[in-house]
């Protein structure tokens, strides 16, 4: 019974079982597919495009920060048509800066990282890893992608709205967002679509993981990645509804003149506000927003930790250290993430009783993160490390996430937050978590699973050419932000050169912007590698990394229905270097004594 090996050379999928017989046409196969793998790839490709778009927006902003009021190179003229740059001087306008800032945040979070981590990797890898033929609700899965795409299109189209795209930050605090121009309405509609898509996805993930696991795949035999996706799905399911409701309330405030978030007696510009009766509370929005947005940061990080776990185990050639501890830690993180949200609101005037509670919960939630990181690092002890590209990205996730996580502590203690709140320190902190943290993990995942999805392995030289300058660029961008923030410079500024403290840190800002250019250039080898490998890369066997988990027991790429024979699980996910065995790995689908 070693079917894992039987098919290692038969990667063309003629599957007698679990295969529906009428072949779907081109549209059904590649566009309106219900196959989790096709949907996963659709999600992945779309979100990679959005990541590039969001990054390009930031390059434009970084240009302005380093060279205030100078013409934006190359696309400065084009952007004038959208009202982002000045038609004459081609320099970035303050409203353009605010638009790009709000859209950068929104796109990176909701259209880039989450759809890649969950929609892409979750969809593609998770059913394979648990030995399922597909997701529990394939049509729902397809719908989730198309609603997501609609949300993305609405977001991008909002640049054409009267007055341009939303300018109130990704946080969209009222009253500013309520009195904003129509781009904000587009933003809200886009958000409602994106949230709906995530909710559809999360139900599907939870059902699939609980009901479609292969025979023998008990919960404790699930790969860490699957655990990450499971906790993530619960977070999405439970945290998004309050934001969806809040989004609808804000939409009503804007289009139907309700006053959920509008206090009475406002005076804007040169006249009193009369279109709202008032009596609402702008802080209510902040509570609803952060009730989602804090769990959302764990949505951004848990799938990344899942990927890092897989890549580490595979390339250390040993079991993950403290697998159960890791799982308990992320479950605990998931629970705790619902009761820390108001640490984003210490400066709103909350009382000390409440802030004490949120400081305490925030300190508590840092403990499982410390444990997770410690487990990962100890996993390297006694290993036999294989330094391929996915491993380089996965290893560098560790110190980068450490910086991001540690710098959260000063922000979590309200007294220190008095100085640091809403400064560049915050930007440095969360970017270390999501950019050199999560994005590196996602790159690790792309290099790791590319052979599964295409049957071809990405070029190692180009991979390293991608990795090293990316690592340098990321740190050049985000490292200096701690100094800028500690100096007291606030975020979301079109330029900081008018401020004394801004002048004292402007050289850091320039340095950061150079880093952004380095990071941009570093993506060229990746893009070349991605397409050239997909079209003509080196072909590999179905298990090129000598990995243990079930996805590697399917052909590469797996056919519709995934496995040639139904897999049965015999052992845990990371049986590497088991003493007394001939090979240094025991696939989950083979009995150990084989």
């Amino acid at each position: 019974m070693s079917h894992g090996h039987d098919h290692s050379h038969g990667s063309h999928g003629h599957d007698p079982h679990g295969h529906d017989h009428h072949e779907p046409g081109f549209l059904g196969k590649y566009v309106f597919s219900v196959d989790h793998k096709v949907i996963g790839i659709q999600y992945a490709v779309t979100s990679l495009v959005f990541l590039l778009v969001g990054f390009t927006m930031m390059l434009i902003m970084r240009w302005q920060l380093a060279r205030p009021d100078e013409a934006v190179p190359i696309i400065g003229g084009l952007l004038a048509r959208l009202g982002i740059t000045n038609a004459g001087t081609r320099s970035l306008l303050p409203e353009g800066y605010n638009m790009l800032g709000a859209m950068h945040g929104t796109i990176m979070v909701f259209l880039g990282v989450v759809p890649l981590a969950v929609g892409g990797f979750g969809n593609y890898v998770m059913p394979l890893q648990i030995g399922a033929k597909d997701m529990a609700f394939p049509k729902l899965n397809m719908m989730s992608y198309w609603v997501f795409l609609a949300g993305g299109i609405v977001m991008l189209a909002s640049f054409g709205a009267n007055g341009g795209a939303a300018q109130s930050g990704w946080t969209s605090y009222p009253p500013l967002s309520n009195i904003a121009l129509s781009g904000q309405t587009w933003w809200l509609v886009g958000m409602v679509l994106l949230i709906t898509s995530s909710l559809l996805g999360s139900v599907n993930f939870i059902t699939t993981i609980f009901h479609l696991r292969a025979k023998g795949m008990s919960l404790w035999k699930m790969p860490f990645f699957v655990w990450g996706q499971l906790v993530t799905a619960f977070l999405l399911l439970l945290a998004f509804p309050p934001l969806e409701a809040a989004g609808v309330l804000q939409l009503m405030d804007r289009v139907a003149d309700t006053s959920f978030f509008m206090p009475a007696g406002l005076y804007v510009g040169d006249k009193p506000v009369t279109s709202w009766t008032g009596g609402g509370n702008p802080l209510l929005w902040q509570h609803l927003f952060w009730f989602l947005a804090h769990p959302e940061v764990y949505v951004l990080i848990l799938p990344a930790m899942g990927i890092v776990g897989e890549v580490l185990a595979n390339n250390t050639r040993k079991p993950l250290w403290g697998y159960k501890t890791l799982v308990y830690s992320i479950i605990f993180l998931g629970f705790m993430s619902f009761i820390v949200w108001a640490h984003h609101m210490y400066m709103t005037g909350m009382g000390t009783a409440i802030s004490t509670f949120f400081q305490a919960t925030t300190m508590i939630i840092s403990i499982p993160s410390v444990i997770i990181l410690t487990c990962f690092i100890i996993s390297l002890y006694g290993a036999r490390i294989r330094y391929n590209t996915p491993m380089l990205f996965a290893i560098s996730f560790l110190p980068m996430f450490a910086i991001g996580g540690l710098t959260g502590l000063p922000l979590g203690l309200a007294a220190a937050d008095i100085h640091l709140h809403d400064t560049y320190y915050v930007i440095g902190h969360f970017h270390y978590v999501v950019a050199p943290g999560t994005i590196f993990a996602l790159f690790a995942g792309i290099y790791h699973w590319f052979p599964k999805a295409t049957g071809r392995r990405m070029n190692e030289f180009l991979g390293k050419l991608h990795f090293w300058p990316s690592l340098i660029g990321m740190n050049m961008i985000f490292g200096p932000m701690f100094f800028v923030g500690i100096a007291g410079v606030q975020r979301r500024l079109w330029t900081q050169v008018d401020y004394n403290l801004g002048q004292l840190t402007q050289s850091w800002v320039v340095f950061s912007s150079v880093g952004a250019a380095v990071l941009g250039l570093a993506q060229i080898p990746f893009i070349i590698n991605f397409f050239s490998t997909a079209l003509a890369g080196r072909k590999v066997t179905q298990n090129p990394w000598d990995a243990t988990t079930l996805e590697w027991a399917a052909p590469s790429p797996p056919p519709h229905g995934n496995f040639l024979t139904e897999p049965v699980v015999y052992c845990g996910p990371y049986e590497y270097s088991v003493p007394g065995k001939k090979s240094d790995f025991c696939p989950q689908c083979q009995p150990m004594e084989a």
Binding site: N98, P175, P263, W321, T348, R384, I418, L501
Partner: protein, 333 residues
């Protein structure tokens, strides 16, 4: 290069009485973070170089007994509890729960934020704030809607735009609110931050260290700016001169005055400075203690900048009485 030499790496100077406690917490936190990070880093580096493919023939299957991980976790918990209970909660409690008592003779000021300015409202010598109502708001002359005609208490009130004179050495209570959107009232060099939320008036209190004056701070923050030769980049020069004033009169070789004392040098003066053979300028910030708005509040959020003018109580009183006489005045910056 002169850019890098004058760049700051850490906290800005602090002129408040409570600020050191915030700074102490921030410093301790960073020591603690550094220890953890270096600890992890050293172990990681060791593993990465010791357990390579070449140096190891087979990985260890059985998990190591890592007492260290328990030790780290317990140490982290203990340290965090100490920081929270000893160094954060009491500081915050004082900052939030213990306003100055009448016995402290505090001085109260109201701040009404708006897009994109700080309106500072002083009660005047009578110590009573006049009524505000939006129906009286006139942008140019009465931005906060002070009832100058109806309320006798408003007669001597002083309203100032972006300029916030304050006495050193006295307890100050600032009640912060907003006319339109959410702003955040932040004076980094006094370690004060409070969101300005429309519809709510939220107090913060602090005390500027006795003996502090804005003039002295300007002197303390003084810097030397190199005058770029013709053909050299002027970026650094322009940056470092922006909103900065000269301390001394600058004369050329011929004795002609190129820049007066207290003038703001800029691009326009470059040629004259070069012609006069001036190589360096000593300048200091015009408004050394600035008010930042730390909440995104709209189009020109980046320009929402105010100034705290720290004076001795005597100088402040002089200013205060002077201004209060000019009833109905609105002081623009």
């Amino acid at each position: 290069m002169s850019l890098l030499a004058q760049t700051t790496w850490w906290l800005p100077p602090d002129f408040s009485e409570h600020g050191w406690q915030i700074d102490r917490l921030i410093n301790w936190l960073h020591y603690f973070m550094a220890v953890l990070f270096v600890g992890w880093g050293v172990f990681l580096a060791y593993c990465m170089t010791r357990f390579t493919w070449k140096r190891v023939s087979m990985a260890h299957y059985t998990p190591v007994k890592a007492k260290a991980s328990k030790v780290i976790e317990v140490a982290v918990i203990i340290f965090e509890v100490i920081l929270l209970v000893v160094f954060s909660m009491p500081v915050l409690a004082k900052y939030k729960n213990e306003p100055p008592t009448p016995a402290d003779n505090p001085f109260e000021v109201h701040v009404v934020a708006q897009q994109f300015a700080w309106n500072i409202h002083y009660p005047g010598p009578d110590g009573i704030f006049g009524k505000r109502d939006i129906k009286f708001v006139k942008d140019a002359t009465n931005p906060i809607g002070l009832d100058r005609d109806g309320d006798p208490n408003a007669k001597d009130d002083i309203v100032s735009n972006n300029q916030m004179p304050l006495p050193a050495g006295r307890h100050i209570i600032v009640k912060v609110t907003s006319k339109d959107v959410i702003h955040s009232f932040n004076i980094p060099m006094l370690r004060v931050k409070q969101d300005a939320v429309p519809g709510i008036e939220i107090p913060v209190w602090f005390k500027v260290k006795e003996g502090t004056t804005s003039d002295a701070i300007r002197e303390q923050m003084a810097r030397t700016v190199v005058v770029p030769a013709a053909g050299e980049s002027t970026t650094a020069y322009e940056l470092w001169c922006r909103n900065n004033l000269t301390f001394d009169e600058v004369k050329g070789a011929d004795g002609q005055v190129v820049l007066k004392k207290g003038a703001e040098p800029g691009k326009d003066h470059l040629e004259a400075l070069r012609a006069a053979g001036v190589k360096e300028l000593r300048v200091g910030p015009r408004d050394p203690v600035e008010i930042h708005c730390t909440q995104l509040c709209g189009l020109t959020h980046y320009k929402m900048r105010g100034q705290v003018l720290i004076q001795s109580q005597a100088d402040f009183d002089k200013w205060y009485e002077e201004k209060a006489k000019g009833t109905g005045d609105f002081i623009e910056d």
